[in-house]
Amino acid sequence: MAEKILLIGGSANGFGRETESDSASYQMVSALLKRGCEVFLVDDNPDSFTASRTDVHVEVLNLTAENLVKVIIANGITGVVPNVGGTTAIRLAFEVQQILGDQGPKIYGLSTPVLKATQNTKYLQERLQQWHLPAVQTRLASTPGEVFDAARELEFPVVVRSIAPQGQALRMQAEDAEELDQIAEDALARSLTHQVNVDKSIRGYKEIALIVMRDFRDTNVLIGGIEDMDPVGIHSADSIAITPIQTLADPVVQTLRHTAFKIARGFDIKGLLQVRFAVNPEDDTYVVTRLVPYYDRKVSLIEGATGYPMVPVMTGLMLGDRLEKVHIPSSYAEHTAMLEPTMDHIVVRFPVFTFGELELGGIETNRRLDTIQKSVGATIGVGRSLEEALEKALRAAHFSNRSFSPDLMGELTDSQVIAQLIHPQDNRILLLLEAIRRGYTVDELAELTHIDAFFFYKLQKIMQLEIDVQDHPWDIDLMKRAKYYGLSDGLIAKLWSSVYDSVRRYRWDNNVLPTYKAFEPSAGEFQESVSQFYSTFETENESERLGQNTVLIIGTGAFRLGDGASASYVMAMVSDEYKRQGYETVLMNNNPHDLTFIPQLSDKQYFEPLEISDIMNVVEVEQPTRIVVPGNRIKLINSLKSAGLKVDVIAREKYLESTLTEPKEEILLNYFFDGAELHPIVLSHQTNRQVNIETAEQTILRDLAVPEMPFAEPGLYQFVMPTMPQAGVGLQGEMRPMPFTHVAFLDKVSHVDWLRMLVRFILNTSTTADEALLDQLPDFDWPYQRAVLHYHDAEFKEHMNIQVPLDNGQFAMGVTYEVE
């Protein structure tokens, strides 16, 4: 077939795009190469892990239609894949198609009609009506007057959404005329065609997402369903999400499934389709709210939760394979692609917000949750009960100080509590627990929040359990119950006014040990060769020590501001190099979209919270030879070391000092420290907008003094100075670990895999080529004259109502780069 396939990258990360598309494109590249395709990638995101592959042709260009056309023509591209690069990639693919017309390459995985339906609600409604499927009532408007006409006809509350929006699609809810006045003009302005849809609000309905796959012969299979705990009205990314669906009865689920298939058939989907529904909790009627025909976070969640080989199957179907014939990696049982995934565990996805960090940085934000996304990342908790999964997800999102700090929530007045119940903020799970504590009944709470009462019963149960545990310190039966429902050793210690170590020892002495269960899509019916596990406290343990010479690698958790995707990139690279150096690798992380969970990347994965107790539990099973930990986890590193374990630290500094107040520039001297000597790599300039490297000025590095080095671990470091250094003069500044964003950037623009080299030095397996390279420094053959890293404006204004410019060193969500 020898096709030349172009993957359109996603460019800078931001709200709506974490590392899930990079993870998908990485896997897709493997699947495409296996089919004998030649693969090209255009991306300007330095954090792209896929772009670090040597078996792909990477073009570092701004993602514009013109640039893509250039690459297509220059390389004779025969097929374009836009559905692993987020919404931008999709829009670009069709712009390219418009430019090239019939002469252009085939677009795989998407068709023009389905794209239109994704962006244009009116068109979606028409098609749905044509197929006798229920849709949201909507009207088109091009002027504020028309917007109001629509609102009068549909009745408040209404939702306004921009058609063909620049950037991420925004949906803004208006409860009354005043609110509508505020948003109407803005929404029209954001649309490239100056049009908006005005929808009748379905606020309070349950949000359900179904993910289906279809092949060209119309075989449809349901991969999974996600239920949001928060109803319509809160952006789905900010909601707590659960899979499998909990509160819908079979007939409703089957109807939704059937509808999703009808839609996939109607659009002749080959590959993946996600259909979002809103279900009226009063009577189980429903409407189809939108379509998502590309790989997004919900798809990534289902892939992780079920263990289904989503990307290899999607790739095969997209290129015209029948479902029975799709090639999947040999680690899966033969029929896995055709078996509808069936789960025997519960996965809860918990959103991670950044308000705390922003407030610490003195930035005012609006913490209220609504239809515009505010969360920046997410974690998951996996368990065998909803309580356990919820507890683990909460822990993973670092809410370790929640319940039983009555001071936190206890200060709120009753009316404040009610206000926040109706208008939820990011900390609403704490608020809900506080409300339960204050005696609100489940029915009252369900009424005020429109969250299904089912979840309140669960929260109540957790609350009661905590009270019971606190009231009976060192009661073994209660401890067993606590562990059964997911309470951590740390929390139990807090409840017993003790320390985590004592609790752990007590647990050990009484044989209350975690059992690890495998993630596989057949609920235990079939033998699947599994490598993904989660913990629970039951009777059978399925995880055995992987081997005698393993390395345990601790991931960086949820996507956060500052280093965002680069943290994932760094740990993925590091993990890959350990594998190359002959270790069997075991990964542990709680972020479902993280690159470290790419199936081929490691030999075994644990989806677990990353607290010390969780890690120690895994260490007990795996007994690894070495443990790799990101440098900021000081407590963890110390605990592991004092337990006599070999710890490899990946030096980590999350962000630079604030450059917010002045438009100042800082000079960064970037070093590779091999454990003994500092080797200067490059001098870069940092402002609040960008980081740049000029090859020509690197000669200055030759005559510089060596700065003070307060760190002992090998790694990549940066010396921060206020002004340009002078030859021969002592250096004034501060040494710190190189921020991961800069590490990723450096890897890309120097064409040297610094991280891989670091691992080799840590393991004492550095090659003569490595030594030669370091000896040569600062003389280095730079492939480019100039390289610039741009901090990308992540639309903080729209998402979080932040009016002031942000310190990108601390708060950047995404970056792009260019080279000359």
Partner: protein, 358 residues
């Protein structure tokens, strides 16, 4: 919350917590992988006298509502789950799962490591099991002494004929352990349905002047059914369009000279890919299957294969070469289960309509 135990014939013991009725019961144990539809599954007569293990760890959130009943009350002798929702919040529900089982004197046991149990059962195949208060020798003795009845159909089939009226075609259903879903589907076509006990004679059937016959699904071993029924089937298939489901399908096979054997590992779920041979399309349907057609005995008979389960090659559908008669092993009534699986009813009613001259 009282402790209870699930004990298996092979000596295994699983500890859990009681819900439902405090009764002690015995039955054949099986695991069901469906993530939804627990009420439909528990009330399906095919599971009469059996103990069901749900692999889905959270059961009961949707409560019990009588639209989801496949028979009056639960048919199972016990329910084994990981977590049972004490309270359900579904607006359409009339009671919780716990109350339902309590009323019908069926015990449940929760907080069992159902995944471990499932993995164990997939190795051993089905066994006798019991839900007891103490896993002592006495309990095991009683369990081992249990003789499973071969009169399942007799216990679940209706003792008297009854009518489910409609204005459309005249359909006679022979009840081998009929589930409501079958009647619901026929109602959708406004069929005028008469349900006969499994002991019906040829005369009784023909007297109703049927436009079509349905052989229902049901519990147990098809070889336990009296021979006369097979010859009844042979005559009926020549006369009128015939649809057979589940146990009915196995009887249809036996009637036409094809052999049926117990399955090494039973299928209870709705996730297996089933290929419709004639179109080469894959579909999904609910399966509740303990017996299967012996594939090698098809050759030379007058039936051919219409559907195959792609995970193990087991035959899921047959059709007669010469007569308008066909059968399916899976459940085409969507209670619970995928909507696309209802195709056989469409095809059957099409056949009936064509032959009525419509």
């Amino acid at each position: 919350m009282a402790k209870r135990y699930l004990i298996l014939e092979d000596g295994s013991v699983y500890e859990g917590v009681a819900f439902g009725a405090p009764a002690t019961t015995f039955g054949e144990i099986f695991f069901h992988t469906a993530m939804t539809g627990y009420q439909e599954i528990m009330t399906n007569p095919i599971y009469h006298n059996q103990i069901v293990v749900f692999t889905m760890p959270t059961i009961g959130a949707a409560g019990i509502n009588h639209r989801a009943d496949e028979a009056i009350g639960p048919m199972v002798k016990g329910v084994v789950v990981r977590e049972v929702a004490e309270v359900s919040t579904n607006r359409l529900q009339s009671m919780s799962l716990h109350e339902f089982l309590l009323r019908h004197n069926v015990p449940g046991i929760s907080q069992v490591d159902t995944r471990a149990l499932t993995r164990h059962l997939r190795e051993t195949g089905s066994q006798k099991a019991s839900i007891v208060d103490f896993p002592d020798d006495h309990a095991f003795d009683q369990l081992r002494a249990l003789v499973l009845t071969n009169q399942e159909v007799q216990q679940t089939s209706t003792p008297r004929a009854y009518v489910n009226p409609g204005r459309g075609a005249n359909i006679v259903v022979i009840d081998f352990g009929l589930k409501n879903g079958t009647l619901r589907m026929l109602n959708d076509y406004d069929a005028n349905v008469t349900v006969l006990p499994y002991t019906a004679t040829l005369e009784e059937v023909l007297n109703l002047d049927p436009d079509g016959i349905v052989l229902s699904s049901g519990p147990g071993n098809p070889h336990d059914i009296p021979e006369e029924i097979l010859s009844l089937i042979r005559t009926l298939q020549k006369t009128v369009p015939l649809l057979a489901i589940g146990l009915g399908h196995e009887l249809f096979a036996l009637a036409n000279g094809v052999e049926v054997e117990p399955m090494p590992i039973e299928h209870h779920g709705m996730n297996h890919p089933i290929r419709e041979q004639i179109t080469n399309q894959i579909m999904y349907a609910t399966q509740a299957q303990g017996y299967q057609i012996v594939t090698s005995t098809i050759k030379g008979t007058d039936v051919f294969v219409t559907h195959v389960d792609l995970t193990d090659g087991s035959i899921q559908g047959l059709r007669h070469r010469n007569y308008p008669a066909f059968s399916v092993q899976f459940f085409p009534d969507t209670a619970p289960g995928p909507v696309e699986a209802t195709q056989p009813f469409d095809d059957f009613m099409d056949m009936v309509t064509v032959r009525r001259g419509g």
